[in-house]
């Protein structure tokens, strides 16, 4: 099982053998984000930008105008918080061909605590006009998204995680921008998720099936753009929708689903995620359990909410 940061680096190393446009700009975290693999394979196209993320974004914008495809390496928080202004004005507002490899999203950031845990990034990034926002579930989807993003002209935000949560796809996976993915069919309610949380949700649904609760599981790899009618179609057979994300319950996937359904096909949406709270330093399993996002926690919460419905 390969972590998304490894999938990111390995895919770029491979793509750059053929594609001379690719450069990687790093914010002094290459041995965490795994951009060091790219530095070793393509030293002439690895540009260390130091601990200066805002400048890194601006440099990438300048290079992109000359035909380079700059991929940025840093932690999620340093993009969506520290460098959000240059990302907004220089990248999104000019439709710059810059790819943001946002490593270490969500809670599982390797004992860093809340300072480095980004649980607001989806809300921030999806509010920016013109920004593509992708959240892969596993290494196969991650690799396919990187290939898509490298060929697409425009800004892309790729939400990566430090550690893997399992796999749901295989080497034959084909990415289709904007399209939701069924991971499981089920009758009683629909569970919608994104990123590696989708893997844990599938596990939770399989567990609930043993308790005669039959859930559909829908994975949203492309937060933006999104085929809204496909999502509405998927929801149409259900009275009850659960959204689960390793992110705040405000403004991310849950917000997106609630916005769409309330305007088009109102029904009950229960959102799981960080409930207006910050995280803390702890092992991954502790964090997922405490904040209700482990497969076990998701299945128990759904079972309880399902009985109350």
């Amino acid at each position: 099982m390969k972590a998304l940061r490894d999938a990111w680096a390995d895919t770029l190393v491979s793509l750059a053998k053929e594609d001379q446009r690719i450069v990687v700009l790093d914010g002094d975290l290459a041995n965490s984000t795994k951009a060091d693999k790219f530095a070793a394979a393509h030293p002439d196209r690895f540009l260390e930008m130091g601990i200066a993320e805002q400048n890194m974004v601006g440099v990438a914008v300048g290079m992109a105008t000359l035909g380079f495809v700059p991929w940025l390496s840093s932690f999620t928080v340093f993009f969506t918080h520290r460098a959000v202004d240059p990302i907004r004005m220089l990248v999104a507002q000019t439709n710059a061909n810059v790819k943001i490899g946002a490593a270490y999203s969500g809670l599982m950031t390797g004992f860093t605590g809340k300072t480095h845990q980004d649980v607001e990034d989806l809300a921030i990034m999806r509010a920016m006009p013109g920004m593509t926002v992708l959240a892969p579930a596993d290494q196969y989807e991650c690799a396919a998204m990187i290939k898509w993003a490298n060929d697409y002209h425009g800004p892309v935000y790729l939400r990566l995680t430090r550690d893997a949560s399992g796999e749901v796809f295989g080497t034959d996976y084909q990415f289709a921008i904007g399209e939701p993915r069924w991971l499981r069919q089920g009758e009683h309610a629909l569970l919608i998720s994104t990123g590696p949380q989708s893997v844990r949700c599938l596990e939770a649904a399989n567990e609930l099936a043993k308790q005669q609760i039959d859930l559909g599981v829908l994975h949203i790899p492309s937060i933006k753009p999104l085929n809204e009618s496909a999502l509405l179609d998927a929801c149409s057979a259900y009275d009850l929708i659960f959204t689960v994300e390793e992110h705040s319950i405000f403004g991310g996937l849950g917000g997106l689903v609630a916005e769409l359904l309330s305007a088009n096909a109102p029904r009950r949406v229960i959102r799981y995620g960080l409930e207006d709270k910050w995280g803390e330093s702890a092992p991954n399993n502790f964090l997922l359990d405490k904040y209700g996002l482990s497969a076990l926690q998701v299945s128990q919460r759904i079972a309880a909410d399902f009985k109350r419905k």
């Binding site: 540009l47 200066a52 805002q54 601006g58 990438a60 290079m63 004005m89």
Partner: protein, 292 residues
């Protein structure tokens, strides 16, 4: 052509540019004046002498790049671009008026000839660094100029770029500091001699030349209103080997330069002239067109 006649053409253009700034802002009812006035002589020098550009082909790949990092001086840049032939001078009247290519801050998606969008301060030098680094990697020979304001030099992102540029030996990059000593509000003067205007110079008693030199920049200090100092400084920058030190031109300027009632007055950072002031400006700038 001797030096005097050489520069008299530029002086005439600068006077006309300053008039267009003041009158365009008055026509639109909003806009910045002090910054465009302090920057005008450097802008005229770049667009009429310093840079290799083709106004009729703004996307010419080998053109020298210019970034106005202090994007609120947009009307100064638009004025010089119009005078240089990028678009008709008449179009300046659309400034800030809706559906215009001339946005309040430069928008690269709207106006050909701009190289990036600026407005949120402190970001332009990083984009210029990207142009220069990309050119170095592709062995393209153009030079990149970035005008930075002394106000926005307070933004941390500028210092990120100042630190990184010398590491890549970007001799093809020149920053020009429009050091006019005033900002929108700033600090009160504490004593005589801490500024050229009616407020404190934010970098008073700071040895910027030494700081930039220590960071690895080739530093040149000039009077930003003397063409016989501006033009040689620009030409020397362009003559640097593309792999070497980036250049920082510290241009001492006067905010609101060129008009008795705007020079050194922080309130003219963003202010609209009334008819009396426009009449006075017309006389002081020797503008001969008929009064409206």
């Amino acid at each position: 052509m001797n030096a005097d006649s050489n520069y008299s053409e530029l002086e005439e253009l600068s006077r006309r540019g300053r008039w267009l700034v003041l009158s365009t802002v008055a026509g639109s009812g909003a806009g910045h004046v002090g910054g465009p006035m302090s920057a005008m002589d450097v802008l005229i020098s770049l667009f009429f002498r310093g840079m290799d550009i083709k106004p009729e082909e703004p996307g010419w790949p080998d053109r020298d790049r210019f970034v106005l990092s202090k994007g609120h001086s947009a009307i100064g840049l638009y004025t010089v671009m119009a005078l240089r032939g990028f678009f008709p001078v008449e179009e300046l009247k659309t400034f800030d008026k809706g559906n215009s290519r001339l946005q309040g801050h430069p928008d690269v998606t709207k106006l050909p000839g701009l190289e990036t969008s600026t407005g949120s301060l402190g970001m332009g030098l990083s984009v210029g660094l990207g142009f220069a680094l990309g050119a170095q990697r592709k062995q393209q020979r153009f030079h990149t100029f970035v005008m930075v304001g002394d106000g926005e030099l307070q933004e941390g992102m500028v210092w990120e770029a100042l630190h990184v540029a010398p590491r890549y030996q970007l001799g093809n990059l020149t920053a020009i500091l429009d050091w006019n000593g005033l900002q929108q509000f700033g600090w009160l003067k504490q004593q005589d001699g801490d500024g050229r205007g009616d407020r404190r110079d934010p970098w008073n008693n700071v040895d910027l030349a030494a700081i930039f030199a220590d960071l690895g920049w080739r530093v040149v200090q000039i009077d930003g209103h003397r063409f016989d100092e501006i033009i040689p400084a620009i030409q020397e920058s362009k003559a640097q080997p593309p792999v070497g030190c980036p250049t920082m031109i510290l241009a001492r300027t006067l905010k609101g330069k060129g008009l008795s009632f705007t020079e050194g007055k922080f309130e003219w950072h963003s202010k609209v002239a009334n008819s009396t002031e426009l009449d006075l400006a017309r006389r002081e700038l020797q503008i001969v067109e008929a009064a409206k």
